[in-house]
């Protein structure tokens, strides 16, 4: 059985099918890109999988466990973590505090009232590792509102790494960045643990081709292609979905 699988997931908003019988699965170590034209239902799919929206029907499995009815935070604890397309960080807090909070949360210590992360050597060691890996150590104690957007995107990745997920959903990790900074994100993603399964939504096709071993194409809520990056450009239905009747 797969590490992570979606089975026959459906969601309607009124009469509009935004997710239409979607099924696919991920194995350990997979690097998969989810692409599709605007309005194809990519972000809705992420919201369904992470539990922020309830599906009309269908199931989500992680590690042989049916997680369809779990709350979003229970799914995170089970190992299913997402990043955000628009940076969602705590603007008054520093990168160090962000990553510390994520580590403490994973270790079940975020509720402690009389403690300080700087007095916990194992938390500090992990913190330094993660910030060092992403070259954020120089900025560790500057409030997030004062650091550049590219670095905020890196911190977004640092946060999900600190949660040590089994399956990671990256919602446009390079969104809003100039192509020169995309390289930084790519380098950061190369640091992800090899046995982690990653599903990445992305528009930059060059980036997708470098990153993914497999591409899933979503159009009008349905999966229209699931295969190698080499085959996707040649696929007639994909060309039609992106280019409409011009492809004919």
């Amino acid at each position: 059985m797969s590490l992570f699988s979606i089975r026959n997931l459906n969601k309607h908003f009124g009469g509009l099918a935004v997710t239409d019988h979607v099924s696919f699965s991920l194995e350990k170590g997979n690097r998969v890109a989810l692409i599709g034209p605007n309005g194809a239902g990519k972000t809705t799919l992420v919201n369904l999988v992470t539990g922020h929206i309830k599906p009309d029907s269908g199931e989500v499995f992680l590690d042989n466990q049916n997680i369809t009815s779990l709350s979003p935070s229970a799914r995170v604890k089970a190992g299913l973590v997402r990043s955000f397309q628009v940076t969602r960080l705590f603007s008054e807090m520093t990168p160090e505090e962000h990553v510390a909070l994520a580590i403490l949360q994973r270790r079940g210590r975020s509720g402690h009232i009389f403690a300080h992360y700087r007095a916990m050597p194992e938390v500090m060691a992990e913190l330094r590792d993660i910030l060092g890996l992403l070259n954020l150590d120089a900025l560790a104690r500057i409030p997030v509102s004062d650091i550049a957007y590219g670095q905020q995107r890196l911190l977004e990745i640092a946060l999900v790494m600190a949660l040590r997920p089994k399956v990671l959903l990256l919602d446009e990790p390079a969104a809003g960045l100039p192509s020169t900074d995309t390289v930084l994100i790519e380098k950061a993603l190369a640091q992800l643990p090899p046995d982690l399964a990653v599903l990445m939504i992305e528009h930059d096709m060059d980036f997708v081709f470098r990153f993914a071993q497999r591409v899933i194409v979503l159009a009008a809520g349905a999966v229209i292609f699931d295969g190698t990056p080499q085959a996707v450009a040649a696929d007639a239905r994909v060309r039609e979905a992106y280019l409409g009747s011009y492809a004919a």
């Binding site: 995170v76 955000f84 510390a100 949360q105 975020s110 509720g111 009232i113 104690r141």
Partner: protein, 334 residues
């Protein structure tokens, strides 16, 4: 005050530095208390009242300033502490002041935890309205159960026994004052630890982006209920202190207007800062006392003008303004 300067990144032993900062802060509070005691021996009752209200404003700072919950009904937890301590003393003859404080804190924590279950269901304006409804309900309940609470006449007959069996609560209010100062210093130290703890960071995170906190797998609702209970205990201590030092509890301690004034004091001093809550209370209550003596008819107008001036020229409150002046001066030196 909390937070470290950026240059601290290269300095080891941050933990020791924060312990030293705590010690300095406690000395400042204690020295201020001593100076006020020597300068205003006639005003100890007022100063004690300021400390009691300060505990309410500190409590409000925990839920509003640190955790982002909008409330105009925070006197509920203050009144719960005051009435619990008062009823215990007046109806059950429990006169030990420390026991009264403990009961006040417990009642405040309970009231905070229970009322938060309702208040946290709402968001934004809805949350504000729920909090007002809660304080009005509590006020009306205290009014109706007059056989317990004394209703609109107030609860009297509170006779606290001497502190540690040694220090009577005299006419000058010296015992009450030093009890208040000791209580404030303890609460101050505990809260500084709480807001820096992982739990405190989680609450600050919830204030800034609850969606992100959920995406990290952390519980938002439960964390806020817990913070509300802690804040309730702090305000409950303030209520009990006011019952002990004034020997009466009135319906005004459970009122919407006290809740609103507490929020004004917090904004005046600066939200999300422990010193902000403390300074805001001193300035507001003292100002109110002086101005209402000078002009008993128009003093509220003058308080209003003060508030407008602060919000326009120091949007982060008095402490926020002081902090930015200090950091500018530091920047000039280096």
């Amino acid at each position: 005050m909390t937070g470290f300067p950026v240059s601290a990144a290269t300095t080891p032993n941050l933990w020791q530095r924060s312990a030293r900062a705590d010690a300095i802060a406690v000395l400042v509070v204690a020295a201020t208390a001593l100076v006020l005691f020597l300068l205003f021996p006639q005003s100890l009752a007022l100063l004690t009242r300021i400390v009691a209200i300060m505990l309410l404003v500190l409590s409000l700072d925990l839920v509003t300033g640190y955790s982002g919950v909008a409330t105009l009904g925070h006197a509920t937890v203050f009144g719960a502490g005051a009435y619990a301590a008062g009823i215990l003393a007046a109806r059950f003859g429990v006169a030990d002041p420390l026991l009264m404080l403990a009961i006040g804190a417990l009642a405040g924590a309970l009231a905070g935890g229970v009322s938060s279950l309702v208040i946290l269901r709402g968001h934004g304006l809805g949350q504000l309205v729920l909090s007002i409804a809660i304080v009005q309900l509590a006020h009306e309940m205290a009014n109706k159960f007059s056989s317990w609470t004394g209703g609109s006449d107030g609860l009297s007959g509170i006779m606290p026994s001497p502190l540690f069996g040694l220090f009577r609560f005299d006419l000058w209010g010296r015992t009450g004052y030093w009890l208040a100062v000791a209580l404030l210093i303890i609460v101050f130290l505990v809260l500084r630890a709480v807001v820096r703890s992982p739990f405190g960071m989680l609450c600050r995170g919830i204030k800034q982006d609850p969606v992100r906190v959920r995406a990290m797998g952390a519980p938002v609702y439960f964390t806020l209920v817990k913070m509300y209970a802690i804040a309730g205990a702090v305000a409950g201590l303030g209520g009990a202190l006011s019952a002990i030092s004034t020997k009466v509890v009135g319906l005004d301690s459970l009122s919407f207007s006290l809740s609103a004034e507490a929020l004004v004091m917090l904004v005046l001093g600066g939200t999300g800062k422990i010193f902000g809550a403390m300074l805001g209370t001193i300035v507001f209550v003292w100002f109110e006392d002086i101005v209402s003596a000078i002009n008993p008819f128009h003093w509220l107008t003058i308080v209003g003008v003060l508030l407008v001036v602060v919000v326009l020229f120091a949007p982060k409150g008095l402490v926020g303004a002081i902090e930015s002046v200090v950091s500018r001066m530091r920047g000039r030196k280096t």
